[in-house]
């Protein structure tokens, strides 16, 4: 990564070297995975509708990386990063995107509908904000079971204007459920800037009357984000909630793969360097001497190799048996 001006370091005062390297590893895995998916989409080896989270890896890594397998994550249409950071194996995610039987959802769900029960990824939905009430229900179930499991739901700034959001926030606040609402605010909903959709600039302002803990953080400053979420998680673990964390991020790519982006100017590369959560954390890790340039290169190479293995795994996996299309409509097992 030869860069002319070094990116601003992440404020990683709260991070130790091992944690920082773990976060970097996760972010590289997400970044390399998604770059490969973009290629596969261009050559039609992955089909359908693909939304990438490049620029938002820090949020996925800092949040999912602190959760236990039995904590639940709900995601939306931009879900690859959340799934990978929550522990979903790259090869099973890749197989899903290629529609294969070894995919996380046996090829039935695809990019927008990843589910990995073993790692607490209970689901993703393609309907904006459709996941938020589901997460409220999950938090209720955890409370009723008497467990200390925490539920995290990811959604975009566009979702905040839905009825789903307002209704769910009210209910979660009323019942004081251990739910952490994570809004990834990238300033756009599809091709429309936030300012065309609402007069409320910060999501925290939209929930202010409920008086539950709510913070707006720079989602590209992974160190700071990690610390803020750690505190939130501690509260939720002790049964407090709901909480809201607004992470300001930048969507590096178009809304979906293939988007011509006529509605916005491309970010200058220098500006992207400043907002790239991966570059920021890596620069900091190098400055702190947790890592040298060679070590950074090895992290990236390791991730790329793992992604290639995932592609090979997916290609070797058969397409699902056609009869499943009918058989899976209703559950019969108890």
């Amino acid at each position: 990564m030869g860069t002319p001006t070094p990116p601003p370091a992440s404020t990683s005062a709260e991070l130790d070297g091992e944690t920082a390297l773990g976060l970097l590893r996760t972010m590289w895995r997400i970044r390399c995975f998604e770059e490969r998916v973009a290629q596969l989409k261009r050559t039609l080896q992955v089909h359908g509708l693909i939304h990438l989270s490049i620029g938002g890896e820090g949020v996925a890594a800092a949040i999912c990386g602190q959760l236990r397998d039995d904590d639940t994550v709900y995601s939306g249409h931009r879900a690859h990063g959340h799934a990978i950071a929550k522990g979903a194996p790259l090869d099973r995610v890749m197989a899903e995107l290629m529609g294969r039987s070894d995919g996380l959802c046996r090829g039935l769900g695809g990019s927008m509908h990843l589910v990995d029960r073993a790692h607490g990824l209970l689901g993703a939905t393609g309907v904006v904000a459709g996941n938020i009430p589901l997460a409220v229900g999950n938090a209720l179930a955890a409370r009723l079971r008497g467990s200390d499991q925490v539920t995290v739901v990811f959604f975009g700034d566009g979702a905040v204007q839905t009825g789903y959001f307002s209704e769910s926030v009210n209910l979660a606040a009323l019942w004081e459920l251990p739910l952490i609402l994570v809004c990834e605010n990238n300033g756009f909903a599809e091709f429309t800037p936030r300012s065309a959709h609402t007069t409320v600039e910060r999501v925290c302002d939209a929930v202010a009357p409920y008086r539950f803990p709510c913070q707006s953080v720079d989602g590209t400053d992974v160190g700071a984000l990690f610390a803020v979420f750690a505190a939130d998680l501690d509260l939720a673990r002790r049964g407090r909630g709901p909480l809201l964390l607004e992470c300001m991020t930048h969507r590096r790519r178009g809304h979906y793969e293939g988007d011509q982006e006529a509605y916005r100017d491309a970010l200058a590369d220098a500006e992207w360097q400043r907002r790239d959560p991966l570059a920021r954390l890596q620069a900091d890790a190098i400055a702190q001497r947790w890592l040298d340039e060679a070590g950074a290169g090895a992290l990236e190479q390791g991730a790329r190799a793992e992604v290639e293995q995932a592609v090979s795994f997916a290609r070797a996996s058969p397409f699902p048996a056609l009869e499943l299309a009918g058989e899976l409509v209703y559950a019969s097992e108890r």
Partner: protein, 326 residues
């Protein structure tokens, strides 16, 4: 004068022309006017061309209210499924208001929604969900299959005094076709006979019209002449054109991309059984999607959908010209 333009351009042309013709026509949607060069924004301004947040309930409900107050909103919903978020407004407010008021108010409204995007968009973005709206008294349902109909049905929808669900097929978006310039209206409730034939009646909608026509060509090579009918609107439904064809052929195959139990074909089959039974020489055959959500995986997606081969097989079955398949 007609010239070739894509289906999507034909839809836009109708909206544009109707907005120019009638000031009360408004246009709402979540991604309208994303650049200053937007054709609608330039021509009609941001009062009439409005960006809405991701708030379908308010977006559609607000349009219903504006319609009651004398406007003629067109709501761009992109995907038909997003209407489901606002099911109450679509099903329980818009179509019932006029009736419950004893005819004192009316709700001229167009809900423009793309459907059937079976290109890997998986379970929540691919449905052919018009069947859900067919049974709601007060709603009209238009389903254009050609660029010309896309224009003519949209113009008619905007001038209609009732809420209209206008479902355009996503896989037809770029499909070119001859479209008349200037004012062009296609009346609701008039089916189009896309191809004449005396041996079997095939009724198909949307994307399936092209598949049925392709099947008819292969059948012609075998000496079987199929008549292909496109109802164009499901509500009102031109059952008379279908029945007179059945009278002539005595054999019916109904093709529908919707799941079998929520299909238009199920309703058309019932009407034929009720009103045209004596003309039938064989049982009616339906070629529909499997009663399942559309799966993501490409081969599986193809498996659940109707296609030309399935249509051919059904025709042979009703004509008794091939072994009975499953």
């Amino acid at each position: 004068m007609a010239r070739e333009i894509p289906y999507i351009a034909a839809i836009n042309e109708a909206i544009h022309q109707e907005m120019a013709r009638d000031e009360s026509v408004l246009y709402f949607g979540q991604n309208l006017a994303t650049t200053e060069n937007d054709e609608f924004l330039k021509a009609f301004g941001s009062d009439r061309v409005r960006v809405t947040p991701i708030s379908e309930t308010a977006e559609i409900g607000m349009a219903v209210g504006a319609a009651i107050a004398g406007m003629r909103p067109v709501v761009e919903l992109y995907m038909a499924e997003f209407m489901l978020v606002a099911m109450d407004q679509v099903v329980n407010e818009a179509p019932r208001f006029r009736y419950m008021s004893g005819g004192r108010v009316k709700v001229p409204l167009v809900l423009k929604a793309g459907y059937g995007f079976t290109a890997g968009w998986a379970g929540q973005h691919t449905g052919s969900i018009y069947g859900m709206f067919m049974g709601i008294p007060g709603l009209k349902v238009a389903l254009p299959a050609t660029a010309a109909d896309a224009k003519g049905l949209m113009a008619t929808a905007i001038r209609d005094e009732n809420p209209v669900c206008y479902f355009h097929h996503y896989l037809l978006t770029l499909e070119p076709g001859e479209v008349p310039e200037g004012e062009y209206l296609v009346p609701f409730g008039q089916a189009s006979v896309r191809r004449s034939g005396g041996d079997v009646t095939i009724v198909a909608t949307g994307w399936m019209v092209g598949k049925a026509l392709a099947a008819a060509e292969s059948l012609a090579a075998e000496g079987i002449e199929a008549e292909v009918i496109d109802p164009r609107t499901l509500v009102p439904l031109d059952i008379d054109t279908i029945l007179s064809s059945v009278e002539k052929t005595g054999h019916v195959v109904l093709v529908d991309q919707a799941t079998r139990h929520a299909s238009a074909s199920a309703l058309i089959a019932a009407e034929i059984a009720d009103h045209g039974f004596s003309a039938l020489k064989a049982p009616i055959k339906q070629v529909t999607a499997l009663d399942a959500s559309v799966p993501y995986s490409e081969p599986m997606e193809a498996y659940v959908l109707p296609d030309e081969a399935k249509i051919l097989c059904a025709v042979h079955q009703v004509l008794g010209t091939a072994p009975v398949a499953a």
